[in-house]
């Protein structure tokens, strides 16, 4: 694994020379996306996969899916050979799968800094932050509605997080900006404050269009025509419903050869059957229909097989996270995605807890580990998720982002070189000795073991004297330190000015709306 590192020097106005000197030389290092050198974990047998695929085709052929308020979509389906009844689309066996075959098995999403380009698919895993929470939380201010200032702070943290490859999309909802204008500010923040790849707006087809147009300013019109610079999240309204807003956004992105994650959004027992195999069958049917539709819009448009699926607590109705059934589904969907030959999106730093406490971390670790082993290629929500996705937590963002390092190191697999075998070290030390000072240890200790940059590894007495801080307290300090040392990555001032002008013009062109 190579790691692209950039070291920037902090220099801004105000404050004394001593204070400035103290805070120079902040390392902003970003690891390359994960290229797995390990096998995937497969929970389903071939026979089980055959049954699920057959049942999914039965759903498409006999029950069908709804394309709502979208006559053009119905026309496309009719022309392709589907049977249309009102808004119901019944897809003959094999047709959806055949249409899916034009979708690429992997694609490159370009970043404005080419060192941050990501290849999505194959054995790779690209990590992106939490998406969608209307609230934020930190130890100081508690839980509150998210603002644009919070949004920008998260983008800065994402830019500075070594194990995060992607800047994401709606890292939180900036509720202080009108609904019909906030996508402009969000895109501007990703484009200016970070140099990692990012996501487009999907809340209206016109906002998807704005996303593409802003990319044309950032990357150049020709570049955007020939390359994928956006990966955006298209949720299916499960069960089996494709609404016109999401499909409208998908159509825009597909027409421009920009990538979409086509993703059932399922709380098991509510939007799908209360069983793993039944849920997987429905996921398969929905993805087949959605991906096939993307290829009807433009054959070859890049798409990702998405699965946001979790279990439910039938006592309270709350979605539950880090559970064994969610893991079964995530592993199973990965197998289905690979058989379909598509990149796979699932997992994340999922938890139901209200606080970044032990519950949050148990649930999150369960979810992150299964994401790695299930062959996920694009992991949205990889850090910062709290309270079932209602809250983006600053502390949990840096806690999770630190844990993502374990995925990178595990994915390297086991070094079986002579150095890895270390027979010289064992011979040198012999029975009853110790390895701390031996030549092999001296040569290899720096890179041998993953080390958290956040967790407490101190002796008990030191830790106690320093205030007996828990992980949340350590994370608060880290958030402050990161924000304080943030430096904007260089961007052509003319491009930045044109982006700001575009946003200003668009905002001026319509009245505020909070609907």
């Amino acid at each position: 694994m190579t790691e692209a590192a950039t070291t920037v020097r902090r220099a801004r106005g105000g404050g004394g020379a001593a204070r400035r000197a103290e805070r120079t030389a902040v390392s902003v290092e970003t690891a390359k996306y994960i290229e797995r050198n390990i096998p995937n974990y497969e929970v389903l047998t071939e026979e089980a996969l055959d049954v699920i695929e057959r049942n999914a085709e039965t759903i498409l052929a006999e029950i069908g899916v709804n394309f709502v308020d979208n006559p053009a979509a119905l026309d496309r389906w009719r022309a392709a050979g589907a049977e249309i009844e009102g808004e119901r689309v019944r897809i003959p066996r094999g047709l959806a799968r055949k249409l899916c075959s034009t979708a690429p098995s992997q694609y490159t999403q370009h970043a404005r800094n080419p060192e941050r380009n990501v290849v999505i698919g194959g054995k790779n895993l690209v990590l992106a932050p939490v998406y969608g929470p209307p609230f934020v939380r930190d130890a100081e201010g508690g839980r509150r509605y998210a603002t644009m200032a919070d949004f920008e702070k998260f983008v800065k943290l994402g830019y500075m997080s070594k194990w995060l490859h992607h800047s994401g999309g709606t890292v939180c909802e900036p509720t202080d900006i009108p609904v019909n204008k906030r996508h402009l500010d969000m895109l501007l923040a990703h484009m200016v404050l970070s140099d990692k790849p990012f996501m487009g707006s999907v809340t209206e087809p016109s906002r998807a269009k704005d996303s593409v147009e802003m990319c044309e300013i950032l990357f150049g019109k020709d570049f955007v025509r020939d390359n994928t610079v956006l990966t955006s999240l298209i949720n299916i309204n499960s069960p089996m419903t494709f609404d016109s807003i999401m499909m409208g956004a998908l159509e825009i992105f597909a027409e421009h050869n920009q990538a979409s994650i086509i993703s059932p959004f399922i709380v098991g027992g509510a939007m799908a059957p209360v069983s793993v195999a039944g849920t997987l069958t429905q996921v398969m049917a929905e993805v087949l229909a959605g991906v096939a539709y993307s290829q009807l819009v433009r054959p070859g448009a890049p798409v990702i097989f998405g699965a946001f699926v979790t279990s439910i607590d039938m006592n309270s109705g709350a979605p539950t996270f880090g559970t064994p059934e969610a893991a079964h589904i995530t592993y199973g969907a990965g197998q289905l995605a690979r058989r379909l030959g598509l990149p796979y999106r699932s997992a994340g730093s999922f938890c139901g807890s209200k606080l970044p406490d032990a519950q949050a971390a148990y649930e999150t670790s369960n979810s992150l580990q299964m994401g790695l082993l299930s062959g996920v290629n694009f992991m949205l929500h990889a850090c910062g998720w709290l309270e079932g996705g209602l809250v983006a937590s600053f502390e949990k963002f840096v806690m999770d982002a630190d844990q993502l390092g374990t995925l990178h190191h595990f994915a390297r697999g086991v070094d079986m070189s002579e150095t890895g075998q270390a027979m010289d070290a064992i011979a040198e030390v012999g029975p009853g000795g110790h390895f701390l000072g031996c030549a092999h240890t001296q040569a290899n200790f720096k890179s041998a073991f993953w080390r958290s940059d956040l967790f407490d590894y101190k002796p008990f007495e030191t830790w106690d004297e320093e205030g007996a801080r828990d992980t949340q307290a350590l994370a608060s300090i880290r958030v402050k330190k990161m924000v304080d040392t943030y430096v904007q990555p260089p961007l052509d001032p003319e491009i930045e000015a044109r982006l700001r002008a575009y946003v200003a013009d668009k905002k001026a062109s319509m009245p505020d709306s909070f609907m």
Copy 2:
């Protein structure tokens, strides 16, 4: 998976009738040990395993291992064909593996309640609590030296923990009891306060003997002669050193056909090379030598391939837990154990954190999940471990014990029956509907999804009104409730009296020693 349940009614003196009634009918349910219906995860290729096994034989043949202060062991090895030089034993290629072949691939450890018997080996996973901490911690009293009262409280919690199959051994060190007598009180507590299987003492060969003799009182002499009623922890003094105390205890247990875990104890970079493959090679060599020795003492004696291996923070020298390298080793050692045809012990609720906070839970989840997927058959330390094993935490004990439920449910695999496929439900609900009320959901929701008995699943407002408690606070309440409702499982009063007399006599026979 079947679950053996016992419901006991609480009835003890003191307090009003109303208060008593309020707290009756405590369910003490214990799940059957896990029988995996899922594949193992295998991180190493066959070629890599061949290299490691070949290198392990090279270590045994060319470097050798030390059997210290143990002339009888050297005699046994000499007679078996090893080359002896001082205390160094060099074992010709293939000999150790051949000797290992008489060890059983699985065995039954009997409990005084036959419903609690466990079968260790094969696809099974048996879960046992933390072992060895000199300190305890709870939210109320902080960190302090462990006492016998703490020990008894942990045994009670273990007895009442649904997902725990085994009562363990030194759940904490009762430091208020003399070192040469505390094993008697510990064994008595396991025998009287719980009806789950337990572990013997290994800190002196004579204490191993006492363990067997107390079992002869509990189970009957004939029964102990014919059955395994103890599984005890024999640590290897890595690198490659077998001390006379541990080997003495192993000899006692093997002679009595009682089971031993033969377990390298390795902090990577200190007691083994700072590489995964090198560490696995050393583990393999040490286990081969230790298991082979057990079979020289008594062919057919039950033994477990143990691996307690963790990484190190080279900055502070602290052992680190839940790390990717520890996971590589745990997965790899599982593959080696299966190739050798032995039950496998590894993993646990490992963490380095001082508190049962997010760090503790991230590290623990990483370790528990890898334990399940690596094919571990006996997981010591499955709950309660804190601060690198220095501390047994009451809150973490119940937090981890709750998480162990996820391992049970994941191990069931995916139900591919007609009910699991749920095609009737998908047809009934159709596009745009919801599944909450459909017949399939009504019939299956109770057992469909694992549910924590501890975590918070409440709406934000309810949780906030109830004090915005974190996981540790919820766990404190649970510990108190469990201890308060504990009822001792029935035991023949005559046997209990004989056990107490044995302990009293032994204690009276020697002066106190705190060495």
